[in-house]
């Protein structure tokens, strides 16, 4: 990216500084996550002597904390992508119907479970996570088809709303006519890191790397879009193809996160804003920074969810809203009239 030539203008050094800070905080959150559990807060190194406790740390707390970081990272990245693609500060990763698609996928699998032995076998293999992921991806695909082109952002947004509403209605219909799935649906919709496994972390890690790398590579498209679509086109950018690719990255990141941790709201929406409140950067920096901020936000919320009333757990989605929203409010108040 930027070289170290003295001819370069003195760029704001706050972006890399913020990155280092966020990484440090994330590592701290990871270590803290190993120490927070059903018995409240206990430094994890003291537990390593007891084999059962050690097993808990490695098999449960490590994947869970790491999962919160990775899922938050994916959601933060997706949120920044969504806000850049649609040039709308209120955009979030679930904009194109991915949330409703994931719910519908989960509901379908739960309902079909037991319909026929073949179906059951298939669905066991697919699992709820697979169903959620497929549902999210297919919903975005449906949105793209409905909008028929990515040319008009408004049309795309409307298609996303329609798909979201229709799939949401389908999910409700399935839940009401098969009340035995209601409990499992609720568990999924509330969102939690409770059962994130090691393999889930591996999947999320790979997806995180892929999405970040490709997002950063395409970030100048998002910057150019800030000058308007016509300007971006006049600069020779194949806007339609690039938008499809970016939406693909968005769907992949969102679908992966939702499949593992359910629907956790607000992380994708708040993370880019939190970053922008601290530094003003172009998308090549905003994407990874929003990702780190999302990771931090979700892992902090998860720590509180686990630790506040241990061994009971709070809903992590509620805590992300309180944390993210509260911090945003504080920032807004402190910036006040000095903000342009």
């Amino acid at each position: 990216m930027s070289g170290s030539s003295t001819k370069l203008p003195r760029r704001s050094i706050r972006a890399p500084t913020l990155a280092c800070l966020l990484v440090t905080l994330c590592v701290t959150a990871l270590l803290a996550g190993l120490s927070v559990g059903s018995a409240g807060i206990e430094p994890f190194w003291t537990l390593l002597t007891d084999p059962v406790a050690a097993q808990i740390i490695f098999e449960i707390r490590v994947p869970r904390t790491l999962g919160a970081l990775l899922a938050g990272g994916l959601l933060g990245l997706a949120g920044a992508l969504a806000q850049g693609l649609f040039r709308n500060p209120l955009a979030d990763p679930f904009l194109l119907g991915s949330a409703s698609g994931a719910s519908a996928g989960v509901a379908l699998v739960l309902v079909s479970f037991g319909l026929s032995p073949v179906a059951t076998q298939w669905f066991i293999k697919l699992g709820l996570t697979g169903a959620a992921f497929l549902g999210a991806i297919l919903a975005v695909f449906l949105t793209l088809s409905l909008a028929r082109s990515v040319q008009h952002t408004l049309r795309l947004l409307l298609a996303g709303v329609i798909v979201g509403v229709v799939l949401g209605a389908l999910t409700s219909l399935l839940s009401l006519t098969h009340p035995n799935i209601l409990q499992s649906m609720q568990a999924f919709m509330l969102g939690s890191t409770a059962f994130v496994s090691g393999s889930a972390c591996a999947i999320m890690g790979v997806v995180w790397l892929v999405c970040n790398a490709s997002g950063i590579a395409l970030s100048r498209v998002l910057d150019a879009l800030a000058l308007g679509e016509a300007t971006a086109l006049s600069l020779g950018l194949p806007l339609n193809q690039l938008r499809v690719v970016l939406i693909g990255i968005l769907a992949l990141a969102t679908g992966t996160a939702v499949a593992q941790t359910g629907l956790i709201a607000f992380v994708g929406l708040a993370a880019p804003h939190l970053v922008r409140a601290i530094v003003r950067v172009r998308y090549a920096w905003l994407l990874p920074l929003a990702s780190l901020m999302g990771a931090l936000l979700l892992s902090l919320a998860d720590l509180l969810a686990r630790g506040l009333i241990a061994p009971q757990e709070l809903s992590v989605g509620v805590l992300t809203a309180i944390l993210g929203g509260g911090y945003l409010m504080w920032l807004m108040n402190h910036q006040g009239p000095t903000h342009d």
């Binding site: 910057d223 000058l227 172009r282």
Partner: protein, 266 residues
């Protein structure tokens, strides 16, 4: 295609349109338009609102689809690869359409180098040199690290102009480039354009201010999607045509070595 500007100067006509038609939805904003824009000259386009001036510029920039033909340096515009065309023709939007408040001036101007950047390489020395040159030409170098959202209207406009210049294109299309600029900076801009034309570049600008348009070498008068008249700035028929197109609400008078268009009070 890697023709140098010198070779291109040999092509006398930068843009030629034949039976150009541009549709916005069902409506034709431009129909049966034939015009020629000469290389290495400054051409201003004037006309009342809704005449199709902005649409014409968008089509020349390769952004709007059109029927008919547009030739860029004697080659059909549609035959140019997007990146090729982007290096030849740079377009500046009317300043109302942008929301890049977070980007620094430097970053915004660097966006003008997109036609030269591939996905994997970063910003080259040539890119940085072009950006610096462009910012200095528009006297915006001093606040290159300030975010766009913190600049005044005029400062923002100069940054956007610098973005246009950074493309180092042979043809510059500008839609209302003087919005928000105060008279000293308008004068700066006119001098800048004269310098660019001297280098062999072609400048086409849509201007609502007829006085400023009459600083250009050529003027195209448009109304109702048609070209009403094309002429050099001193052409009196041009002046009467302009006055007609504005329904005689302006009067073009000589002033010093140039012309001034004054609103006529009835």
């Amino acid at each position: 295609m890697t023709d140098s500007s010198a070779t291109l100067k040999a092509v006398p006509i930068a843009f030629e349109t034949r039976s150009l038609e541009i549709k916005r939805g069902q409506r034709s904003v431009i129909k049966g338009l034939n015009l020629k824009i000469s290389t290495a000259r400054w051409c201003a386009i004037v006309g009342p609102n809704g005449a199709g001036k902005s649409s014409l510029l968008l089509a020349l920039a390769g952004v709007l689809p059109f029927q008919g033909e547009i030739l860029l340096f004697n080659q059909p515009l549609k035959q140019y690869a997007a990146q090729q065309r982007a290096r030849r023709v740079a377009w500046l939007a009317q300043s109302s359409v942008q929301s890049a408040d977070d980007l620094t001036a430097y970053d915004v101007v660097m966006l003008g180098r997109i036609p030269y950047q591939s996905w994997l390489n970063g910003q080259s020395q040539a890119d940085h040199a072009a950006v610096e040159h462009a910012l200095k030409l528009t006297h915006a170098w001093d606040w290159r690290n300030r975010a766009l959202g913190t600049l005044s209207g005029g400062e923002k406009q100069r940054v956007l102009l610098a973005r246009l210049l950074a493309v180092e294109a042979d043809v510059l299309l500008m839609d209302e480039p003087l919005a928000n600029l105060d008279p000293p900076h308008q004068a700066d801009w006119i001098q800048l354009v004269h310098g660019l034309v001297a280098q062999g570049k072609t400048v086409v600008s849509v201007l609502h201010d007829v006085t400023l348009a009459l600083y250009a070498d050529d003027v195209i008068v448009m109304s109702n999607g048609q070209v009403q008249y094309t002429g050099k700035r001193d052409d009196t028929s041009l002046h009467s045509n302009i006055e007609n197109v504005f329904e005689q609400r302006i009067a073009i008078q000589p002033l010093g070595s140039g012309w001034v268009a004054l609103p006529k009070l009835v």
